[in-house]
Subunit: 283 residues, 2 copies
């Protein structure tokens, strides 16, 4: 299922197999485009407005115009309706420049597909390999053109880090600043539990603002946890009471090893978080 | 003109307008692909083998299989032959993973088009705006998963830096390490003249090895210049006898201003370099 929105934001429906981009498209040749992946559980979007807010922020970082919120929301919901019902759907929304130099021309597409099955990882957990993201903790503030914190199609580095993690025998990478501060995974946020606190790095460090992490933080006080944005050094990771990687589709994946060393787990809290993230209301 | 090479490296010719990638292709969704742009002047490729060597190096950095050199060369030459003759052609060669998870499946396409006209910039020169690339000068050596020095489709950052340069009233960006060492432009190498030396940063600093810069270096001794790879700090730029940005299609573009300050020029040497780069033999 694909919806294409032209220069005047007209909506067109097409089958994903027939919907295609010319090899000269800037989204292809330059990865000069932004995106969001929105999960639908039992037909209901997870944090739709938060995703569209973040997409708008990414678009601003790339100086791109975007369609109106109502049109985008309606298009996404229509695209999902066109897809056969499925317990977990994944909706990718892309906003892209069309041709080089043609700065005013922007288009968007919405692609709906059955989500990958994360149930095994949600139960059994994953292992992480930490590695440098090559940037200082102030790079994002000092150099906005680096697009740290924008969700662009330029993910070759993220994919290479994931391959490096697998090469080291781990499931996922966890990026650190050059000073050793914890950032994020290539496609997920990190959250930790210490005592009665839930911790995550502040977005100013040059990471994506995680919609799933924000939902977990909004939920935290109701179950007796204080949500805290903090600088967390790599050395502190193994002292945490629990660590999770959070994503829109995967939700909260418990971490059982970091760089080969075991970390504590909290299966009860993991279940509570995932039930909330999956079934809770995140308007 | 597009040539597609499938899993068994079969060659297929198609019109560029009809050749297209599904929106689910990894080249689109992740920019997880590598490329080269090869200039053909009067039907002759500029540094074809050097480009294919660098493409092979990029492919290794991304753990991708590549077609044999002979097949690739033959396909590129055939694709150019299918295109109507033109004084300056630009040939983009892309090597991409097909689908996520499908690590063995790789494909390539070759797209031929009339090159942009760089004659005005070659004569009148360009202005630069320096800006941080956010990385230290040792990042590329310490963290190969950052893909510094690989020519991937993930160019959103490069495009954002170019927009930032234009915002500052300059034509192009010039990246610096966080320590202030000169790196490269978003789509070109930098070369400088000081006395009887031609200078450029060493690739180990995390930049692409410039094929056009390498050709200029190979030519340098024959016109009385010593080619030198060196660490060059931003502060040294204005003291140079001349500065050029080098690209496969643009060749040597003389720089007349850096961050608003005038830099010296050497029109005679610029002409000599461009005549060599355009007409010389670079086998």
């Amino acid at each position: 299922m694909l919806t294409s929105i032209g220069g005047d934001w007209a909506v067109r429906f097409a089958d994903a197999r027939s919907a295609a981009l010319p090899v000269t498209d800037l989204a292809v040749t330059r990865g000069d485009a932004v995106f969001e992946t929105i999960a639908f559980f039992d037909g209901r979007p997870q944090a739709l407005d938060q995703h569209l807010d973040r997409l708008a922020g990414s678009a601003r970082k790339l100086d791109m115009a975007e369609p109106g919120r109502n049109l985008w929301t309606a298009t996404i919901l229509s695209a999902v309706e066109e897809h056969p019902p499925w317990p977990e759907l994944s909706v990718k929304v892309v906003l892209a420049r069309h041709h080089e130099g043609d700065d005013g021309m922007v288009r968007s597409w919405v692609h709906v597909e059955a989500a990958a099955d994360h149930s095994t990882r949600r139960n059994a957990g994953i292992s992480l390999a930490t590695m440098s993201r090559g940037v200082t903790r102030t790079a994002a503030r000092e150099a906005p053109w680096l697009l740290m914190g924008a969700k662009t199609l330029s993910y070759a580095l993220n994919m290479a880090a994931t391959r490096e993690a697998r090469r080291r025998g781990a499931d996922e990478a966890l990026f650190l600043t050059v000073e050793g501060f914890v950032m994020e995974g290539p496609t997920s946020s990190v959250m930790m539990k210490r005592g009665d606190k839930l911790l995550t790095p502040a977005p100013g460090i040059g990471i994506l603002e995680g919609t799933t992490q924000q939902n977990a933080f909004a939920y935290a006080p109701s179950i007796g946890f204080e949500p805290v944005y903090a600088d967390i050094h790599r050395g502190e990771l193994l002292t945490m009471d629990a660590v999770w990687m959070l994503g829109s589709g995967s939700l909260a994946l418990p971490v059982h090893h970091i760089d080969g060393a075991e970390v504590s787990a909290d299966p009860g809290l993991t279940r509570l978080l995932n039930d909330h993230l999956r079934f809770g209301h995140h308007a």
